[in-house]
Every structure is written in C-alpha cells, then in structure tokens.
C-alpha cells in the first residue's frame, strides 16, 4: 500500500541528510586531513606534514600537562559526583515511608543541572572571590579565617574549586537517574533480605548495587566522557585568563581552543581534536570492559 513511497521518503530525509553531511560529517572528516597539515589558515595550500603535529604534541609539555588535568578530572569527577549521588538516592529510597520532604529536595538538587554552565561558572567565580566572595566571608564568620584562600588564583586550590562546581551541579542529575533505577527493584527482595536479618548496608551492597549496576555503568561512562571536555566551566571560571593558576588547570579542549583561535595553528588544533576523539573512543571501550559484570534479570 505504500506505493510511490519514495515521493515521501526522499523529500523527508533530504533536509536532515544535507545539514548533517555539510555541518557535521564534512568537518569531522576534514579534521583528519587538516591534522596532517601545517596550515596557517590564510594560504590556499595546506602543506602536508604527515604525523608531525602529533609527534610535536606528544613532546609538548603544555599539552601533556593539559592531558594530565583531564586525567585528574577523570578520577575526581566520577568519584565525587557518583558516590554522593548514590548516597542521596539510597537515602531517598530507604527508610520506612521514604524521607519527608523528598520531593522538595529532589527539585532543589536537580536545579543546577538546568542552569547554563556559563552562569554557574561566573557565579562561582564570585563565590570564590577573595575580596567579597561568600566562601571566604562564610569562613571568616565562623572563625576559620585561616582557611580563606584566593581559591581561583592559586595553583593548589583552583583544580579543586572547579571540580567542586562540577560535582555541585551534577549530583542532583545523577541522583534522579539512580533513584529511578533503585525504585524499579521489587520491594519483595528487600523484604526477604530483612527477614533474613540483613542490615541497611547489607541490603544496599548485596541487592541494590548489583541490580542497578547497568545504570551505574552507563553513568560512569557518560561522566568520564564529560571529564574529557570541561571546556566551558574552565574557560569561564578562569575568566579565559592566562595567569599561572589558569594554566595549571587547563584541559586539552582549552589548549586546543588556544592553538586554534589565539595562535592560528590550525593543523595542530585539528590534531588535538583527533586525539580527543581517540581518547573518547578508547575510554568508552576500556570502561565498558572494566565495568562489565554479570547482569541480573528481575
């Protein structure tokens, strides 16, 4: 009955295919070619240099340092975010009737996720401000003046200050995902465990965790890929600055932006893009392998 269906199929697919090919696929494919050139952007010719962009990046201290920052984010962000999100989700779904006020807390905790990262970044730039930021003011008011810092102007604290903002804004999001997963576990499992004398912690460790592992796994991979980026938050919170503290937290995405739009080293920037892709793929595969567990049907 779908005769002459191509009269529909072709015009319906064409706009999507056209836009996707021109603005997404073509730049992706071209990036691989540009990465092999030393193009300065102005000349028509793009001198082919083989893998030398990659070779010089791997010996470039600033790039390797940036890579190290991503590695640090990769450890700190999933651990900090997912452990707290898991704890909150568990607290929300445990207890006799759930906890009072759960609906309110849920709405509040999720809110930062909806906010623009740019606003969150600027806001925390001022929260951390050494002169009148509320963090230092709060520390002073409870007699902890010795703990006040120039949070974003100091190599020792800037990484943690930025990581905290990420974790702060992401906890509610992952908490909601974990709660949905926990609540799909049949209550009868917990009843049986209770009858057998299992404690809260035992129930959580031996029932909740294994049964929601697929969700946790997906969350780990998702947040890990986010940790490879971190462009917006770092760019905004360092005020796009080039002081030594800003340099000390620079992730590879920020370094790529500088290579491209400040130094006009387009070939090198494209090479960083390719490396970023390879890292994303590698990380996904490795994490999928490492986190693979037996799945339980219920």
């Amino acid at each position: 009955m779908y005769y002459r269906k191509y009269r529909l199929i072709i015009p319906f697919l064409l706009p999507a295919l056209l836009l996707y090919t021109v603005f997404v696929l073509y730049p992706y494919v071209q990036a691989f070619y540009l990465a092999l050139t030393s193009w300065s952007g102005t000349s028509a010719e793009k001198p082919f240099v083989g893998l030398s962009n990659f070779v010089s990046l791997l010996t470039d201290g600033r790039f390797l340092h940036a890579l190290g920052n991503n590695a640090k984010f990769l450890v700190v962000l999933p651990l900090g975010t997912l452990s707290v999100a898991l704890l909150f989700a568990a607290l929300f779904t445990q207890g006799q009737r759930g906890i009072p006020g759960a609906g309110f807390y849920r709405v509040v905790f999720f809110f930062p996720q909806v906010m623009s990262v740019v606003i969150v970044g600027i806001l925390f730039q001022y929260v951390y401000n050494p002169r009148y930021g509320i963090l230092n003011e709060a520390l002073k008011s409870v007699g902890l003046k010795s703990l006040t810092r120039t949070w974003l102007g100091n190599n020792a604290t800037i990484f943690w200050a930025i990581a905290f903002v990420f974790i702060w804004s992401a906890i509610g999001f992952y908490m909601v995902i974990f709660m949905a997963s926990m609540q799909s576990i049949p209550t009868s499992f917990y009843e049986a465990a209770t009858l057998d004398g299992a404690s809260r912690w035992r129930s959580f460790r031996d029932i909740t965790l294994p049964l929601m592992w697929e969700t946790i796994r997906t969350a780990i991979i998702y947040i890990a890929i986010t940790a490879l980026d971190m462009f917006v938050l770092v760019q905004v919170m360092t005020g796009s600055g080039a002081n030594s503290a800003a340099r000390s937290v620079e992730p590879i995405a920020v370094y790529m932006y500088i290579e491209a739009f400040t130094k006009n080293r387009w070939g090198s920037a494209a090479a960083i893009g390719v490396i970023l892709l390879l890292l994303t793929l590698l990380l996904s595969v490795v994490l999928m392998r490492v986190t693979k567990r037996e799945t339980y049907e219920f």
Binding site: M1, A31, L91, I99, I134, S199, A260
Partner: protein, 318 residues
C-alpha cells in the same frame, strides 16, 4: 551501551498518547521500604531519619544559597557588595537591571538568542520528525545504514570538527549570521533528536496511518495531520531538551559569532564578566545573571517533571 536505564518510550501507551493525556512522565513514587532488621527500634530509625534530614537540609542550603546571593546582590549598590556581602540590599537598585539591559547590551544578546532559537528549534523539531518518521516506518534500501550514520554523530566530540567548521562557515559566508548559527545548531541536534523520535514513532499504532491512506490521504497529509499530532508528547520532550541545550550553548557561538553585536546570551554574559575586570560594575553583572537565570527558573518550576525526564533520557542515550 547495552541498556538504557530510563527508556523514554517505555511508559507511553500508544492508545493514550492519541488523547495526549499521558506525557513523558518517568515519575516514580517513593515506595515504602521495609525496615531492615537490627534497626527495628524506633530510636535507630529516628536517628537514621534525623541524620538524613540534616544532610539534606545542608545540601539544599549549599545548592540554593549561591542563587539567593546572586539575586540579592543584583539589587545592591557596588559599595554594599564589597562591605556587606551577606546582608539584604538597603534599597532595591532597579537601575542595575537597566544598566545591564542597555549599557551592557544584555537586551541585544537576549534578542540575538531569541532570533537564533526561533529558527533552530523549529528547524530541529520539524526536520528531525520528518527524518525519524521515514526511518522508523518505511522499509527501503539503506534505511539501516542511514540510521547508523545519524547515530554515529552521538559518539563524536564536537571539538573534532571545530576547526574545519569555522572555515566552512567562513567560506559559506555564514559566520556571524543568525541563519548560519541556527543551521549549525540544527545539524548538531539532529542525531539525538532523530534517535529519540524514532523510538517514539515506532510505538504509534500503524492502523491509524493505514486507515488515513485508505481514506485517500496522501503521505504528506498523513504525516502532518495524523502522525505529527500523535507524536506531540515526544516533540514536547525534545523541544524542552533542545531548548535548554541550545539556550545554554557556549562553544559554537564562541567560535561562529565573533562580532559583539551578534553575541548570544551565554557568550555575552561571559564577555561581560571578563569586562568587569576593567569596569568594576559588579552589580550590573549580577543583574545580568539574574535576568538570564529567571526564565530558566520559571520554566523549571512550571515543567519540572517533564524537564527532568527529558534531560535524564537525553543523557543516557544508551
């Protein structure tokens, strides 16, 4: 990834989507749980609940307070911000908002954002819906390959294509244009929106479409008058999802809209924040942030559940 924890279409009964009553609602009521043994005493339970409450209240304060501080600060004089960061404003300085809106060009940035989003959101939804409809409901050679081609876009980091995209837009004379940015927004929103809507169209009953074809309606008519209205809940979910994504987008405009009069809001706000180093007009900056936050806050409070399910479904695209 082998499983999607939150299946966006799982809870939608096709019968009910026709009436439009059931929307994407992944709300799950907090089920009562039995108390574990060993904590049967009311004291143990009270202690547990008390600790939990304290923890929750503390974290609520940590989450809410920066926003409250931002709003109160936006009504203060610069002097008050420096001398009394915690206090309430002595008088409401509405002038901060007018300075932010006009002198700091927040009004222009809002206008630019609205122009771009009005084109890009309409385009994203329409073009994705058409492609998703064809891909999910018609058999033809290359169908599967096209599906894989679109979903492959979900795996690639945007940074990979950034440099070529910049030059492509330059060659096409689309840099610093509203249409150019809107087209790029649409293109980058397609993979996930198509992926999501395909799952949606698959759940719609085929009898209705077939009946309308039998009744003599053309394929186009069937799509626009029957299938699209039936897919409304899915379109709303993707509308909200893409609205937030595109409203908050920072990287693409940073690269593609480099003339200040064309800045979109997130970019303009960042520009203004950097300028503060020279201008020292903190109160106007806070007012600008408040202006930017309020629409999001209102949307969030009105559509909290839909937004939550839309965003979480978006993240875990499987």
């Amino acid at each position: 990834m082998s499983s999607t924890p939150i299946n966006p279409t799982a809870e939608i009964d096709p019968e009910e989507t026709i009436s439009g009553e059931i929307v994407l609602d992944t709300r799950i009521e907090t089920e009562p749980r039995l108390q574990p043994a060993g904590e049967k005493t009311t004291l143990g339970n009270a202690l547990f609940l008390g600790t939990t409450q304290i923890l929750m209240i503390l974290w609520s304060v940590v989450v809410i307070f920066p926003f409250v501080w931002m709003i109160t600060t936006s009504f203060k004089r610069d002097m008050e911000i420096l001398t009394d960061p915690f206090g309430l404003p002595k008088a409401l300085q509405w002038d901060n908002f007018s300075r932010a809106w006009t002198s700091a060009h927040i009004g222009t940035y809002v206008g630019n954002t609205l122009i771009v989003l009005s084109m890009s959101l309409t385009g994203t939804l329409l073009i994705s819906a058409m492609a998703a409809y064809v891909l999910s409901r018609f058999e033809f050679p290359g169908n599967r390959a096209l599906f894989l081609l679109f979903t492959a876009g979900l795996m690639f980091p945007m940074f990979l294509g950034l440099v070529p995209l910049y030059f492509l837009m330059d060659d096409l004379h689309l840099r610093n244009t509203y249409v150019g940015l809107a087209l790029v927004y649409i293109a980058y929103s397609l993979p996930f929106t198509i992926f999501f809507l395909m799952g949606f169209f698959k759940t719609l009953p085929s009898e209705v479409a077939e009946a309308s074809v039998v009744d003599g309606a053309g394929h186009f008519q069937t799509f626009f008058q029957i299938m699209l209205p039936m897919a409304k809940p899915g379109l709303i979910a993707m509308g909200i999802f893409n609205f937030l994504g595109q409203w908050n987008q920072f990287l693409l405009p940073l690269v593609l809209m480099q003339s200040e009069s064309r800045y979109v809001l997130s970019q303009g706000l960042n520009f203004m924040a950097i300028q503060q180093g020279y201008d020292n007009d903190y109160s106007a900056l806070f007012a600008a942030m408040t202006i930017t936050m309020v629409p999001t806050l209102v949307v969030y409070i009105l559509f909290q559940r839909r937004l939550e399910s839309g965003l979480t479904a978006g993240a875990l695209k499987g």
